[in-house]
C-alpha cells in the first residue's frame, strides 16, 4: 500500500523518477546478460556516451526541430482558437466549416507530408506546415468542445445581465473552455513534434528527424537512439511547460485539486 507521504507531489515525483531509473537499469542489465548487439539495441550507457561525444551538435539539431515544432504549434493554437470561436459563434459554420474539418481529420496527415515539399520546397516552411496540420485538429476539436461546455444556467445569467456576444465570449465562454483547451494543447504539442520529425524525414538537411534518417542509413543505431532520447526529453519539457502554464492560468483548478 502507498502511504500518505507518497501521495504528495514530491512523493509522486520520486515514484516517477525511480520508475525511469528501474526501466533503464533493466535495459542495461538485460542487454549485457543477453549480449544484444549494439546495432540492434545499444545499452543506455552507450547511448549516453554517444550523446556526450558531441552534445553541442545534438543540441543544435534539437534546436531546429524545436523551432519548427513551436512554429507549427503556435500557428495551430492561434488559427485553431480563432476558427473555433467562429464555429461556435456563427451557426452556419458548424454544419459547414466544422463538419468539413472533422471530415478532413480522418485523412492521415502524415500521408500528405510529401505534398508539402512539392508545394513549399525543402526549406523550413513545409516542416512547419506539416507540424501545424497535425496539431491543428486537436486544438480545434477540443476548443470547440470547450466553448460549448458552458453550463446553460451561466448563459441564462449572461442573458439577464444583457451581455453582448463579445462580453459573453470573453468573460464566460473562453474561461469555461480553458480546461478543455489545455487538454487539446497538450495533445497538440506532442503531435506538433511528430509533425516536425515527419517533415524532417521527408526532406531536410538538419533537425533530429534528419539525424535519425541519416544514422539509419549507416546502421548507426546508437545515434538513432541518441536523437530519440533528445526528442523524448524535449517533448517532456514542452509538456511540462504547458502543465506549468495551465496551473498558472487556471489557479481555480489548482485550488480544487488541493481540497480533495
Amino acid at each position: 500500500m502507498v502511504n500518505g507521504k507518497l501521495n504528495g507531489r514530491v512523493g509522486r515525483g520520486i515514484l516517477t523518477v525511480s520508475s525511469f531509473v528501474i526501466f533503464f537499469l533493466i535495459w542495461q542489465v538485460a542487454s549485457q546478460i543477453f549480449g544484444i548487439r549494439p546495432v540492434i539495441l545499444p545499452t543506455p550507457v552507450a547511448i549516453l556516451r554517444e550523446l556526450a561525444s558531441s552534445p553541442g551538435w545534438y543540441l543544435l539539431q534539437g534546436w531546429y526541430t524545436l523551432l519548427t515544432t513551436l512554429a507549427g504549434f503556435g500557428l495551430a493554437v492561434v488559427i485553431g482558437v480563432l476558427l473555433s470561436i467562429l464555429i461556435v459563434e456563427v451557426k452556419i459554420l458548424d454544419s459547414t466549416l466544422y463538419a468539413f474539418i472533422l471530415a478532413l481529420n480522418t485523412v492521415p496527415k502524415v500521408a500528405v507530408a510529401p505534398l508539402f515539399v512539392i508545394w513549399l520546397g525543402t526549406g523550413s516552411q513545409p516542416k512547419i506546415a506539416i507540424s501545424f496540420l497535425i496539431a491543428f485538429f486537436a486544438i480545434v476539436i477540443d476548443a470547440v468542445l470547450g466553448l460549448r461546455s458552458v453550463p446553460p444556467e451561466m448563459l441564462d445569467l449572461a442573458a439577464t445581465l444583457r451581455g453582448g456576444r463579445w462580453d459573453v465570449l470573453r468573460r464566460i465562454r473562453f474561461p469555461c473552455a480553458l480546461p478543455s483547451l489545455f487538454a487539446g494543447m497538450k495533445v497538440a504539442m506532442s503531435l506538433a513534434l511528430v509533425g516536425s520529425v515527419v517533415g524532417e524525414f521527408v526532406a531536410s538537411e538538419h533537425g533530429l528527424g534528419y539525424v535519425i534518417l541519416a544514422a539509419q542509413g549507416t546502421f548507426d543505431t546508437p545515434r538513432v537512439f541518441a536523437a530519440i532520447f533528445v526528442l523524448a526529453a524535449g517533448g517532456m519539457v514542452l509538456f511540462w511547460i504547458l502543465s506549468l502554464l495551465e496551473r498558472r492560468v487556471m489557479p481555480w483548478h489548482a485550488s480544487l485539486q488541493v481540497r480533495h
Partner: protein, 278 residues
C-alpha cells in the same frame, strides 16, 4: 387576513386596496406557454397577476407546474406563447435592465474571486467599479461574507456561494429581484438563516421580489402574497395574502396564525391529489 381563490374576481379586501395604492411593477395578463410543435405540451395555463412595487410575492407549486417557466418569462429568458407581460409598464421582449436574478444553482464563475464575481453585472454594463465598491462591501458584510471576498467559489460552502450569488444580483441595485428556488439545494439550517437574511434585506430596501419555491413554510415566512400554482399546466389555484407582522421570526412558524396559512395551502394541495398516500 384575506384569503381569495382566484383573487382577481373579488377585488374587495384590505390588502387589495393597499396594493392598488402602490404602482404596478409586474403585470401578467393571460400568460401561457406551450412547448414543442404539433404535439405541444402546455406548460403554463393562462396566468394573470399583478405585482405592486415593493411587494414580496412567492409562487408556490408542485414541481413541473410551470412556476419556473413563468419566472423565466418575466426575466425575458423565454417568450410566452400567448398573453401579455409587462415589467415597469414595458412589454418584456428581452431581459429588463432594472432586474437581478438568483438561480437555483449559484452560477458563480469558478475562475473569479467572490469579489470579482459580485462585480460581473457592472462589467457587463461597461461601467466603472468605483461607484459600486462601497455597496459591494456593505452587501458582503450584510450576508456575512466579509473576509471571504478574495476566496474562490470552490473554497466556500453552498450557503456562502448562494449568498454571494444574491450579492451579485443586488450589486447594481435593481428594483426587481427574481429568485428561482434559490435555497432549494441548501440544508434546512442554512435555508432558515438565508430566509431571515433575505427578509432583512428586503425590509431595508423594499425591492419587488418574485420568489419561486416549493416549500410552504418558506413561502409563508417570506411573502406578502403567495400565488399557488396548480399542477401542469400551471394556473393560479389560490392567491393568498399573508398578514403576519414583520419582521417575522423563525419562532413564528410554531404559532397558530402561521400554521393556519400553511394548512390552508396544504389542504389545497391535498385537494389537487398531490399527497395521495395520506
Amino acid at each position: 387576513m384575506v384569503i381569495m381563490a382566484q383573487a382577481r374576481a373579488t377585488p374587495e379586501g384590505a390588502a387589495t386596496t393597499d396594493r392598488a395604492s402602490a404602482p404596478v411593477h409586474v403585470e401578467a395578463v393571460g400568460v401561457c406557454k406551450h412547448y414543442g410543435g404539433r404535439e405541444s405540451v402546455q406548460a403554463l395555463g393562462a396566468i394573470s397577476l399583478t405585482i405592486a412595487k415593493g411587494q414580496f410575492i412567492s409562487i408556490l407549486g408542485p414541481s413541473g407546474c410551470g412556476k419556473t417557466t413563468f419566472l423565466r418569462c418575466i426575466a425575458g429568458l423565454e417568450k410566452p406563447s400567448g398573453g401579455t407581460l409587462a415589467v415597469g409598464g414595458q412589454t418584456v421582449d428581452r431581459p429588463p435592465s432594472d432586474m437581478g436574478m438568483v438561480f437555483q444553482r449559484d452560477v458563480l464563475l469558478d475562475w473569479r474571486t467572490i469579489y470579482d464575481n459580485i462585480f460581473l453585472p457592472i462589467e457587463f454594463r461597461h461601467e466603472s467599479r468605483k461607484p459600486y465598491e462601497k455597496r459591494a462591501q456593505e452587501l458582503l458584510k450584510l450576508f456575512g461574507l466579509a473576509g471571504f471576498d478574495r476566496h474562490f467559489p470552490p473554497q466556500l460552502s453552498g450557503g456562502m456561494r448562494q449568498r454571494a450569488a444574491i450579492c451579485r444580483a443586488l450589486i447594481a441595485d435593481p428594483s426587481l429581484l427574481l429568485m428561482d428556488e434559490p435555497f432549494g439545494a441548501l440544508d434546512a439550517m442554512t435555508r432558515d438563516q438565508l430566509n431571515v437574511e433575505l427578509q432583512r434585506i428586503w425590509q431595508a430596501t423594499h425591492k419587488t421580489v418574485v420568489f419561486i419555491t416549493h416549500s410552504i413554510p418558506e413561502a409563508v415566512f417570506l411573502s406578502d402574497r403567495i400565488e399557488v400554482f396548480s399542477p401542469r399546466p400551471g394556473r393560479i389555484a389560490l392567491s393568498l395574502d399573508i398578514d403576519l407582522p414583520r419582521p417575522r421570526r423563525m419562532a413564528m412558524r410554531h404559532e397558530p396564525e402561521f400554521n393556519h396559512y400553511c394548512s390552508k395551502i396544504r389542504e389545497l394541495f391535498e385537494d389537487m391529489g398531490l399527497f395521495q398516500e395520506e
